[in-house]
Subunit: 119 residues, 2 copies
DNA sequence: CGGTATCCTTTCGGATACTG
DNA sequence: CAGTATCCGAAAGGATACCG
């Protein structure tokens, strides 16, 4: 495929399962911040392997930042949205608005702030 | 997963390989319109199985419309973006703009209208 | 707590051949 | 031309156990 196409390349990490949901969960945390264990708890069904894999990818893409507090025991890891990550959430909001405009089966989501995405 | 979440459900078809690229190819056609064989030619690497599968999904989602001309032989099939499909292209544009703002390795795409997405 | 390692299953997509 | 049918391999993901 066309490796140089911005849209195509952006689709690459947009499209991976869990990736956007992880960003959304971080967004719901204080200052776009959550711990590994919180993410795990808030994303029912995700396995540790997949979660840690996605976190690495997202960090490599510059969408999140990892901060480890070595002074505490056990070690405490925090993940936080970067400005780029926050900006991507805005696009997800547009996507949600698109869905609410053009898909008719989202009445529940229209009535209230959806508990999951809270956008 | 949460089947009722608008964002989650939207991600479902955003995220499938080729789906957005098919929409982009249609967008590049006259009035958001292209034939099956054109799509196949314009999406190098896609197999007939995958293409026909994606087209069915996109039609079921109301993003494209299929029009068959039975009077001609061989049968001629046209696929066209619906208003919902066109609206989704706008979100893809936002996505592209996000990428161009936050990812530094897209200078070629910045300089010109990318030949592939033409957004 | 925050992961990694291993195994195993399933799904998806690619290749190809064929048909109305 | 516009697909469908069949087969196959790679890769992703789930379950589980374990470690610093």
């Amino acid at each position: 495929m066309d490796e140089n196409c911005t849209v195509y390349r952006t689709m690459e990490y947009i499209s991976k399962r869990w990736s956007m949901l992880i960003l959304l969960e971080l967004f719901k945390g204080q200052d776009g911040n959550k711990r590994y264990s919180e993410l795990k708890a808030d994303l029912p069904g995700i396995t540790p392997k997949v979660l840690s894999g996605r976190l690495k990818e997202l960090e490599a893409e510059g969408l999140i930042r990892k901060k480890v507090d070595m002074s505490s025991f056990p070690v405490r890891s925090d993940y936080q949205l970067t400005p780029a990550g926050f900006a991507l959430i805005d696009v997800v909001k547009d996507l949600k608005n698109w869905a609410l405009t053009w898909k008719i089966d989202n009445e529940a989501c229209k009535r209230m702030d959806c508990a999951r995405c809270r956008l």
